[in-house]
Amino acid sequence: MFTIFDITERALNGPLCSEKDFDLKIFVPELRRVIKKYDIKYDPENPIPSDDDLADRIFKAGVELYSKVGTYCPDTERIIKFTDEEIDQALKLAPSRPVFGEGKEAKELISRKPESDIPPWCFIGAGGAAVSNMELFVSIMEAYGGFLSLANSITTPTIIEINGSLIRAGSPLEVMACIKSSALAREALRSSGRPGLPIMNSIATAVTDTAKIAGSQFGLRPSDGWLIGTSSELKVEFQRLNEIAYVSSLGGNIVAETAPILGGYCGGPEGVAVTNAAYHLNCIMTMQGSCQLSFPFHYSSNCTTTRDVLWAVSISSQAISRNSHFPFFILSYTASGPMTKMCFYEIAAAITTSVVSGASIEFGGVAKATAADFFTPMEPKFASEVAHSVVGLKRKDANVIVKRLLVKYEDQIINAPLGKKYKECWDIKAKSPLPEYIDLYEDVKKEISKCGLKFKY
């Protein structure tokens, strides 16, 4: 396997190339070539395809794409490249059962297959969404520990203020906020009775390597998930390689994050699917990951629940899970927000798609994870219930369910309702949803059951 020294050496000495040429003369033409070569076509009628051959062709296309393109390092304007033999070896030697968490929460993350009977790992919480103050941050983290019984790991929110000042990336405020975030999150999980529960998105507040590494000293453990991102498409900055150098030296688990964009350099759903498969190699080799975390998303809808994105998620998840033992997550974002029926429809569609296609789940961002405080523990709880309920479901049956759900929300994505804020949905003192939200949740579960989804919880 490669070390951070190998990757850095390639970043310093690989082929020289301007960023624009990498995007337009290398990545785009190679992607379009492999899409054509492997005859990959989007089928809007089947957001969850049951075509194993197509899935395998997408994986081959992704491997070929990564072999030709590699990962671009904007700091050196050079390409980190690998040979076919190196890629082949890396796939064989990739981690297959990383362990996350401490004590009784310690658990192996196991790769799944399409229609697998193995329950998905439920990495749930805020999806990095912004929270306006520390009181809410602590309330949310305690609620995650106490309310999310199906959680295998937690994702923390982003803090936007500290000591009354807006946090600025690269400033001491960012460092101090990251320190506080780590300390408060760990303490909140302890006081909720789940001290060993892994935090799997590092520190959502961290933008710079400095802040992430400094903040981690005050609460993160090697057994947590150290989320480190690749920039779209197939680019990695020195700041991220610095984080990899640190986490590797610590013996920590890197959760290698990727986000192919529909409408951007990937083009349409076919390109997103192939690029997601190529990212799988990037996560194993360049990012030194213990697992991949991907969220293909739509450039204008800013969510992952559109029909074309669901198709790309499904078929690329099938491609990866059928051809690799390196575990991976799909992260979902909804367009609509808390206390809306649409939000539950979107969650059910996205989670069903990911789980039956062989992925584990991260959930996630609601209301596009943009406006502060527009999320509650109810949405990740519902996501984890859907995830466990669709285990073992056939893709063709899941496809029918997702199509029925799409009919309920698809035409509202552009003007999706923002919903209500945390305090309008959640009783902080009682640590439970408000009755109005419980009623909506129960109503919508009955409604979704009529689409064919049989809830186990």
């Binding site: 995007d23 409408g263 990937c266 083009g267 074309d308």
Partner: protein, 209 residues
């Protein structure tokens, strides 16, 4: 001829477009008419196709490059004939300091460019002073600030504050965008407008201009 100019852009064909532009000059056709009835029609169609996802960001960039190349060929002709070209407006755009997110901002830049604006895309991680220096240098009408992170949004406020301190706030319309940016934030920092999507950004600038 106008059809060739238009189709050269739509088909992302540099050679076809350049040949058509050369023909325009040979035949003595009014270069502004060639732009309005040929090149601009092509870029408008590309923009519409992008909104419907019939084409994607690479096509937008390539169409923009072809349009600019064509304009370079026509420029001496326009200057020689002393034709006054009506400009829609100059825009300086970039992602603020501390933020390296690129694609959303590039889509906005390309949609503006193919809508006929002169766009100076400064890139990512751009300091307040660089935005202001460039805006002053080119006599910009607009400054567009992109930020995808809550902790880089304050840089949008920094720029507006700096314009005020320098006494040049009224020279520019400042528009802001990016994932966490909201209309409330726009009002709070005193920006002139906010767009949620790339297409909205074009509409906003047309409205403000």
């Amino acid at each position: 001829m106008f059809e060739s100019l238009k189709s050269g852009i739509i088909n992302i064909n540099m050679e076809e477009t350049k040949n058509a532009v050369k023909k325009v000059i040979e035949l003595g056709i009014d270069p502004l008419e060639a732009i309005e009835k040929g090149l601009s029609v092509g870029t408008k169609i590309i923009g519409e196709k992008f909104k419907k996802l019939e084409v994607f960001l690479p096509e937008l960039i390539m169409a923009g490059d072809i349009f600019n190349e064509a304009m370079e060929i026509l420029k001496p002709e326009i200057e020689a004939k002393k034709i006054k070209q009506a400009k829609k407006g100059n825009i300086v755009i970039g992602t603020v300091k501390g933020d390296i997110h690129k694609i959303g901002k590039d889509i906005v830049a390309m949609l503006l460019e193919i809508s006929g604006y002169e766009v100076h895309n400064l890139g990512e991680n751009i300091s307040t002073s660089t935005f202001i220096d460039e805006a002053e240098k080119i006599g910009a009408d607009f400054i567009g600030l992109s930020s995808l992170l809550t902790s880089t949004m304050p840089a949008q406020k920094d720029l507006i504050d700096a314009l005020r301190e320098k006494g040049i706030r009224s020279k520019y319309k400042v528009i802001v965008g990016g994932g966490p940016v909201t209309s409330e934030w726009t009002d709070e920092i005193g920006a002139d407008g906010y767009a949620e999507t790339a297409a909205d950004a074009v509409t906003l600038i047309q409205k403000l201009h």
